[in-house]
C-alpha cells in the first residue's frame, strides 16, 4: 500500500502537479440483519483502491480506481492531471493550501476485541434472540442489526507525509415497528438508523446490551399506538443525547463547515447563515453552550490522528460560552479564510471519494447538573427521545425535528408518554434557549452518518453530548 501511494504521488509530480496526495484504502466490512427472527442479510465486503488528488495549473483534479496494476495506477494519475488542467478556463484564482508539516507516522485506533474475530454464529445468535425478544403482539417488524468495518489506509503526499492508520468501528441496533390503523410507531435502540457506530471493537456491542433492551423497545413501540398525540404547547424541552446529537449535527455542525460557508455546496446541500466575519463576534447560543470539534477524543468513529489530507488533528473550539469562535476547515478553506492551520476535518467516504470538510466529534460540552437534577428542576416540559424525522433549511436556520417518543414532565417528574412529538425553531433562537446541560456522567458520543457532497458521500460523523434543556420551545404533534 505504501509503495503504491508513493508511486502515485511521484507519477503526479512527474506530470507537473505542484501538489499531490494519494490515499490507498482497504476496507473490510460486515453487515448482519435479522428480521422477525429470520436472517435478512448476512453480507461482507472487502474494498481496496486508491484516490489521487493533484493541483495542476492552480486547479484541483481527483481520480480514483480499484484497478491497482501499474497501468491502472498510471491511468488514475493521468485522469487526475487531465481533468485538473481541463478546468483552467474556468479559474479565477489558484488553489492555495494552509501549511502543514510533513508527518511520517503509524496509528491504530485501540480495540479490545477484534469484531472480525467474533464468528458469525455468535453474532447471529445475539441478533436472532434480540429480534425474537421484540416479537410481541402488535409489532410488525422486529429487526436487529450489527455492522462492522475496518479501514487500513496509507496516505502519502508530495510534501513528504507518509501516514498509516487503522480505523475499526462497530455498531448495532434494534428497531421495532408497530402498526395501527393510520398510525405507525417506531422505537429504536440505541440510535435511529445509523446503529450508533463507535470507534471500538466487539466490546461496543457488549456494552449496549441489545438483548436486555429488546423487550422494552418493542413494548414502547406498541404503547405508542395508543398514546395521545403530543399536545401543542410552548414549553421546556429536554432532549436526550441520541436526539440532541443530530440537532448539533444539523444546526451547528453543518452551519460551521467552511466549505458550505464558501459556497462549495450551494448547488446541492446549500450554504450557511454563518459568514466568515461572524467568527469571534456572533452569539450562537446561551452562555451554557460550549461546542468543540475534537478528533482526538477516544472511542468514536471519528477519532483519528490524521485527517484525509494528512493534517494532524487537534481540538478546535467552535462555540465558547455561546459565542462563535471557530469553524471546521480543510487546508484549502483555512488558507482562503485566513484561519492559519487546517482544523483537520477532511474525510472521504472511502478511497474512491474526494475528501470533504466533515464533523469530527463536533460536541456539546457537558454542563454542571446531573440528569436527575435536570428533570427535577423542570416544572413543566417534555422529554424527547430518539429522532424520527429531521429537516432544516438550506442555510441551516429553520428546522423541524420529530422524535420517536415524548414524556411529559410535571413538577419535576417524568409522566405520561405522548406520540409523534415534533419541535421547530430557528437555530440561534433555539440555542439561546439552552438553560441547562447535564454533566459528564450523562455525556456520551453518538455515531452518525451524514450525506454530503456530489456524488453523495455517506460520511462518518459523531457527536458528544448529554441531556440538555431548552426553555420555551414550540412543540406539537405531526398533525399540527
Amino acid at each position: 500500500m505504501r509503495d503504491t501511494a508513493q508511486k502515485a504521488v511521484h507519477l503526479a509530480e512527474g506530470m507537473g502537479a505542484s501538489y499531490a496526495d494519494c490515499r490507498v484504502v482497504q476496507r473490510e466490512s460486515e453487515f448482519i440483519s435479522v428480521k422477525n427472527g429470520e436472517v435478512e442479510e448476512l453480507a461482507s465486503g472487502d474494498d481496496l483502491g486508491l484516490g489521487v488528488r493533484v493541483i495542476v495549473d492552480g486547479g484541483w483534479g481527483f481520480a480514483s480506481t480499484n484497478r491497482l496494476s501499474s497501468a491502472g495506477v498510471e491511468d488514475c494519475v493521468r485522469r487526475a492531471g487531465e481533468i485538473a488542467a481541463s478546468g483552467a478556463r474556468v479559474r479565477k484564482k489558484p488553489v492555495r493550501l494552509a501549511d502543514e508539516p510533513a508527518h511520517v507516522d503509524s496509528w491504530e485506533r485501540p480495540v479490545e476485541v477484534d469484531p472480525f474475530e467474533v464468528d458469525d454464529a455468535a453474532k447471529l445468535d445475539l441478533l436472532t434472540r434480540s429480534s425474537r425478544a421484540m416479537m410481541q403482539q402488535g409489532v410488525a417488524v422486529a429487526r436487529a442489526v450489527l455492522v462492522f468495518s475496518r479501514d487500513t489506509q496509507v496516505f502519502a503526499n508530495s510534501e513528504g507525509s507518509l501516514i498509516r492508520q487503522v480505523l475499526t468501528e462497530s455498531g448495532g441496533s434494534l428497531y421495532a415497528l408497530a402498526v395501527g390503523r393510520g398510525n405507525t410507531q417506531v422505537r429504536t435502540y440505541p440510535c435511529t438508523v445509523w446503529h450508533d457506530i463507535q470507534g471500538k471493537g466487539w466490546e461496543a456491542i457488549q456494552q449496549r446490551d441489545l438483548l436486555g433492551n429488546a423487550p422494552r423497545v418493542a413494548s414502547e413501540a406498541v404503547q405508542l399506538l395508543s398514546a395521545r398525540p403530543c399536545p401543542e404547547m410552548v414549553t421546556d424541552v429536554i432532549i436526550a443525547p441520541n436526539e440532541l446529537a443530530l440537532q448539533i449535527h444539523e444546526s451547528i455542525g453543518h452551519a460551521v463547515e467552511a466549505d458550505r460557508i464558501l459556497g462549495h455546496e450551494a448547488d446541492f446541500a446549500g450554504t450557511s447563515f454563518i459568514s466568515p466575519d461572524m467568527v469571534g463576534d456572533f452569539r450562537y447560543g446561551s452562555e451554557k453552550v460550549n461546542v468543540f470539534a475534537d478528533p482526538t477524543l477516544p472511542g468514536s468513529r471519528t477519532s483519528f490522528k490524521y485527517d484525509d489530507e494528512g493534517v494532524k488533528t487537534r481540538r478546535v473550539d467552535i462555540i465558547n460560552e455561546g459565542k462563535l469562535v471557530g469553524l471546521t476547515t480543510s487546508r484549502e478553506t483555512a488558507f482562503e479564510l485566513g484561519l492559519g492551520r487546517s482544523g483537520g476535518c477532511m474525510r472521504a467516504n472511502n478511497y474512491d471519494h474526494i475528501p470533504l470538510v466533515r464533523m469530527p466529534n463536533v460536541s456539546l460540552a457537558p454542563g454542571d447538573v446531573s440528569f436527575e437534577e435536570l428533570i427535577a428542576s423542570t416544572e413543566e416540559g417534555i422529554l424527547l427521545d430518539q429522532n424520527r424525522s429531521w429537516s432544516i433549511d438550506d442555510r441551516r436556520l429553520n428546522f423541524q425535528f420529530g422524535s420517536e417518543v415524548g414524556w411529559l414532565i410535571e413538577d419535576g417528574e417524568i409522566g405520561e408518554m405522548v406520540r409523534d412529538p415534533i419541535y421547530a425553531d430557528m437555530t440561534p433562537d433555539f440555542w439561546a434557549k439552552c438553560d441547562a446541560i447535564a454533566d459528564e456522567d450523562d455525556w456520551r458520543v453518538i455515531g452518525y452518518a451524514c450525506g454530503k457532497g456530489t456524488p453523495s458521500q455517506d460520511g462518518r460523523v459523531a457527536h458528544g453530548c448529554s441531556h440538555a434543556r431548552f426553555s420555551g420551545v414550540k412543540v406539537g404533534a405531526k398533525e399540527r
Binding site: 474494498d47 484541483w60 481527483f62 432544516i392
Partner: protein
C-alpha cells in the same frame, strides 16, 4: 468500456466456484466524472473509476452475500468463495427464488445509452461549465453548480441461466445562482448529451434568481400552490418510495397496505413506473438482474399496484416486477429488502403554468422543495422547506418573491386536491431515480414555519 464478453467471462469464472450452491454474480463497471463550480470557478474535478462484484449464494432458505472491489477475475472468484463461507454459518431467512433465464431486452440499441457520453464527456463538462458560468454572470448572478457524465456497464449472471448485461450513460447539468438575496437553480438530467440545453438551463436559473431577489416575509398558513416540476417531483417520489414499496406494503406501513383499489389521490392523476421510457433515465434490469416491467401504481387516482423484487414477490405470490433498487454505480447490486420504483412518470394535463397562476386569487408559486423528510410513512406526511424561489400570487398574478416557508403535510392529502395539471412533463432527478412530471396546481398545502431568507 469493458464490454459484455469480458464481464461475462469474469462472472462465469466466479460461478464455477459455487460448487453445490445456487449462485449469482453481479458486476458493475463505472466511470463517474464530475466538474463542480462555485462562484464561477471550478472547485472539484473528479474522475471515479471502478469495477465491483457482488456474489450471492443460496442453499434453500440460507444465503450469504459478499461485495468486493474487483479489478480481476481472481477477485470475482474470491467473492464467490467468501459468500460460500458466509452461507455455511447462516440461519434460514425468507424464501427468495432466483431469476431463471435470459431476460430478453434489446441489446443492439440499449435504452439509456449514448455513445457520445463515452466519446466526449470530459470535453462536454468543461464546455458546459464554461458556457453556463458566462451565461449566468452576464445576467448578474454568481454561478454555482455541477456537470456530471457517467458511463456504467452492469452484468448479472446466475447458475440458473440468467444473463443480463447493459451499458448505460448519464449526464446532468445543475446551474444554481445567487445574487444578494435571490437564489435559484435549474437542472437537466438525461442519458444523452443532446438532450441538455446548457444555455437554456443557465438562462432559466439566472432569470429565476433575478426574480427571487428581495423576498418579503409571509406568514405561514394554508395556501393553494402552483408547484413547478422540480417541486411536484418530490411529492410523487415520496408516494412511490413509501407507498409503492412492496416491502412497506407487506409490513403495513404503506397507504397501499389497506387501500389497493381505492381512490387515494385526485382522479385526474395517474402514476406509473417505466424503466424503458427514453424520456426518463432508462435502465433495463434491476439489481437482481430481473428485466424491469412497467407497473401502473395509481390510475385515475386509484391505487393499483406496488412494485416487487424477488423476495417481496415470493412473499406475495407474484413475480418480481424488476424493482430491486439499483443504487450507486459503485455498488454492484445483488438485491435489497426494498422494492422501489425508480423511473416514475406522471400523466400530463391540459393546463399551462400561466393558467394555474391566473386561476389563483391568493396562493404561492413554489419552484423546489428542500430537505423533505418523512414524518409519518403511512399517510405520507412529510416536512420540508421551499427553495430556489417562492412567489406570492394575488388576483391571478405573481406579485413578488417571498421568504422560504416550511410545510408539514400529507402528500396524499395535497395530491387529493389537484386542480390543474400541466401539459409538458420534465425529467427531474430524485436520488438515484427520476420522476417525469408536469407542473401542477394544488388546492392547499399547509405551511407551518418561516425562515429568514
Amino acid at each position: 468500456m469493458m464490454g459484455k464478453q469480458e464481464m461475462k467471462s469474469m462472472a462465469e469464472a466466479g460461478l464455477k466456484e459455487a460448487g453445490e450452491y445456487s449462485a449469482e454474480v453481479h458486476l458493475s463497471s463505472a466511470l463517474y466524472e464530475l466538474t463542480r463550480f462555485a462562484d464561477g470557478q471550478i472547485h472539484q474535478n473528479i474522475s471515479m473509476d471502478g469495477l465491483n462484484v457482488t456474489a450471492c449464494l443460496y442453499d434453500g432458505r440460507r444465503s450469504g452475500r459478499v461485495h468486493l472491489s474487483a479489478a480481476t477475475t481472481d477477485r470475482v472468484r474470491q467473492a464467490v468463495q467468501q459468500a460460500a463461507e458466509k452461507l455455511r454459518y447462516a440461519d434460514e431467512g425468507p424464501k427468495r427464488p432466483m431469476p431463471l433465464a435470459e431476460q430478453g431486452y434489446c441489446e443492439e440499441d440499449p435504452p439509456g445509452f449514448d455513445e457520445e457520453v463515452v466519446r466526449r464527456g470530459t470535453q462536454w463538462r468543461a464546455q458546459a461549465v464554461e458556457a453556463a458560468v458566462k451565461e449566468v454572470e452576464s445576467r448578474g448572478p454568481r454561478a454555482y453548480g455541477r456537470a456530471i457524465t457517467e458511463v456504467t456497464e452492469r452484468l448479472s449472471m446466475n447458475t440458473s441461466g440468467l444473463l443480463s448485461y447493459a451499458p448505460r450513460t448519464r449526464c446532468d447539468l445543475v446551474v444554481a445562482t445567487i445574487r444578494d438575496t435571490g437564489y435559484s437553480c435549474s437542472e437537466r438530467h438525461a442519458y444523452s448529451l443532446s438532450d441538455i440545453d446548457v444555455k437554456e438551463t443557465a438562462q432559466e436559473s439566472a432569470a429565476g434568481c433575478n426574480r427571487a431577489r428581495d423576498p418579503k416575509e409571509l406568514e405561514p398558513q394554508e395556501y393553494p400552490v402552483v408547484l413547478l416540476p422540480y417541486a411536484a417531483a418530490d411529492l410523487f417520489s415520496f408516494v412511490g418510495r413509501l407507498g409503492a414499496n412492496s416491502q412497506a406494503v407487506l409490513e403495513g406501513r404503506s397507504f397501499m397496505s389497506d387501500s389497493l383499489g381505492q381512490q387515494v389521490i385526485s382522479e385526474g392523476i395517474s402514476l406509473w413506473d417505466d424503466a424503458f421510457d427514453r424520456r426518463g433515465r432508462p435502465i433495463p434490469f434491476d439489481a437482481e438482474g430481473v428485466k424491469k416491467q412497467p407497473v401502473t401504481i395509481i390510475e385515475g387516482g386509484v391505487a393499483v399496484s406496488p412494485v416487487y423484487n424477488q423476495t417481496t414477490g415470493a412473499q406475495q405470490g407474484v413475480p418480481s416486477t424488476g424493482h430491486s433498487p439499483v443504487g450507486s454505480a459503485f455498488a454492484a447490486g445483488g438485491g435489497s429488502p426494498q422494492a422501489v420504483p425508480q423511473n416514475l412518470f406522471v400523466a400530463g394535463g391540459e393546463d399551462t403554468v400561466a393558467d394555474m397562476i391566473a386561476d389563483t386569487s391568493l396562493g404561492l408559486l413554489v419552484t423546489s422543495l428542500h430537505y423533505t423528510r418523512t414524518v409519518e410513512p403511512k399517510e405520507v406526511v412529510v416536512t420540508g422547506m421551499t427553495r430556489n424561489g417562492t412567489f406570492l400570487i394575488r388576483e391571478g398574478e405573481v406579485v413578488g418573491p417571498v421568504r422560504n416557508l416550511r410545510f408539514t403535510d400529507s402528500y396524499l392529502r395535497i395530491l387529493n386536491d389537484v386542480t390543474h395539471l400541466g401539459q409538458q412533463g420534465m425529467n427531474c432527478s430524485q436520488g438515484v431515480g427520476s420522476v417525469h412530471v408536469p407542473a401542477m396546481r394544488v388546492g392547499s398545502m399547509r405551511f407551518t414555519e418561516k425562515t429568514d431568507f
